[in-house]
Symmetry: C2
Subunit: 338 residues, 2 copies
């Protein structure tokens, strides 16, 4: 009989936590025991897992004891508080927050891109920022063959990136606007329905917001290219749960659209979606619920000899968060690290 594992999910009732739970079932992750943790507000809730109905509990040192693996998706401060306890108790933790991502001792992993990075883990493995994961899955297969020098990216990020409450808010805002009433803003800083705004993460003195700097720094770390040039404009759009990105790539040598398309067709985690005749390309609605990053509109950049333009959509909660985390756990098992 193959080995099974005692698994915990910290932040089990959030958008990403719920998705991790679903993916563990869907992918038949070898679960021996499952413990669900949440804040006090959600503790006591019941969530189904297979034939069982699990009770969500608050986290404690005792409750973490004996776990083999802990998925954390409850924000940076919760991760900083509890992950060291889980590691001390013997678990490997996969952290969806940004708490440890840039820590040199913590691998930042997209399994399709830098799987080997897990080998050096010391108990914590960081799951990258959602837009960064989607970008890396799409560009790493190209970069391996023709090195990329510079990336200019503009994002179209769905409400799901701001959590389940933001997803509900954009819908209720749309309802209000259609009824001729002013839209309420509680979770989001400005109305998002029929509107959009630059990503509202904290501003850096550089004029970039944190979300954009995450893309810059995390992409460099995942691609193991500390000198990679990257600039990003991150924008929140009134879409529910998949992110899109307009990506301009400058290579160190020419990379034809045909070559790029061929490389992407073979790339794990990528689905090329291009029908130039029907003008049908990746859309958030089509990416929703899918594992793959959809890539299309691959074309030679009119403004640069070594340039290529492409367009991608990916499910932010799935590959952008929960699926990537579960894939990291599967990778640990495959490499005999768990």
């Amino acid at each position: 009989m193959s080995k099974t594992y005692r698994v915990g999910i910290l932040g089990a009732t959030g958008a990403v936590g719920v998705e991790i739970l679903a993916l563990l079932q869907e992918r038949m992750f070898p679960v021996a025991e499952l413990r669900l943790f949440s804040s006090e507000r959600s503790a006591g809730k019941h969530l189904p897992f297979g034939d069982e109905l699990l009770t969500v509990q608050t986290v404690s040192t005792d409750a973490l004891s004996g776990l083999d693996i802990l998925f954390a998706s409850a924000g940076s401060s919760v991760s900083r508080q509890w992950l060291p306890h889980a590691v001390a108790a013997g678990a490997v933790t996969i952290d969806n927050s940004s708490a440890y991502r840039m820590d040199p001792a913590v691998p930042l992993v997209v399994p399709e891109v830098n799987a080997s990075a897990v080998l050096s883990h010391q108990g914590i493995i960081a799951n990258p920022n959602c837009t960064t994961i989607l970008l890396c899955v799409a560009i790493a297969p190209l970069h391996r063959v023709v090195p990329i020098r510079r990336i200019v990216v503009a994002t179209y990020q769905s409400a799901s990136g701001a959590g389940a409450r933001a997803m509900a808010e954009v819908q209720s805002q749309a309802q209000s606007i259609l009824a001729g009433e002013p839209p309420a803003t509680e979770v989001l800083p400005y109305p998002l329905a029929f509107n959009l705004f630059p990503h509202n993460s904290p501003m850096d003195v550089s004029g970039y917001c944190e979300e954009e700097l995450k893309m810059v720094r995390e992409t460099r770390k995942i691609m193991e290219e500390p000198a990679l040039l990257l600039t990003a404009t991150c924008v929140r759009v009134p879409v529910l749960r998949a992110h899109s990105e307009a990506v301009n790539l400058e290579f160190t040598a020419p990379c034809s659209p045909e070559r790029a398309r061929e490389l992407l067709h073979q790339a794990p985690g990528v689905m090329v979606v291009e029908d130039f005749e029907r003008n049908y390309f990746p859309m958030p609605l089509d990416a929703t619920g899918k594992d793959a990053v959809l890539v299309g509109r691959i074309r030679r950049d009119l403004s640069h000899d070594h340039g290529l333009e492409l367009w991608l959509c990916g499910d932010q909660i799935r590959k952008g968060a929960a699926l990537n985390a579960v894939q990291i756990a599967e990778l640990l098992i495959a490499r005999g690290l768990l």
Copy 2:
């Protein structure tokens, strides 16, 4: 008494036509007589102008006779059919369609950018593509001082660019989705509510769509820089009527954000909207109904020594179409050309 003019609007019942009508009143354009033209479907409708109620009529050679100025906003084929007649009958025509924009004999004008181009007109003056107008208003003031070498732009274009029926469709799609019903698509090729898709204008063999190539070609013509490097990704988003653009500029020499901000503060038609502390920047909802192009998030490009990033929003129907056309007419009067 100052001179007044006999004015016609071809496509008077469309989104842009209605806006031209409103702007003529709002800006107290010296109208002696106003004739409204539409397709047979809308002929017979009544539209208010000041105290009058004007009847919309179908266009004919007779009906165009005696006009001083004709605004055309009924599509390329209608412009090609009727503008030569209007010009032959003595009118100056301002064409919002793409029919004549790249004709070397036709000035393509954004009054804040290349006003003098009107001097060479031969009866037809072209009003540029909406996204191009907004871009040029924002970048020309910088380019005059520090020449721009290359532009990488990603757009976030509202439903209004596809006309009044597309605006209604995105609202009814939202209504359906919120009610748990499938969204209907009649005007737009795919659901746009809670979704987005690459611009559905016809695809060129280059892999760029027509909207993107318009930005490339028209920007070069308006800026009078045939060698300007530009690449664009145009995307339709579920916003009703203002367009946004993420703009990456590469200058021939460094241009600091401070210098750019100072130049844009003084630039006609531009409003700098930047509150880094509150994370408040241009949004389509704020740009709607405004004459100015809102510009913000001006920052030094982390990936290029001579680079600058900025973000803009502008009302596509207003400055992106109707206002620019009316400003061209005002310019003709100011220059004694009408």
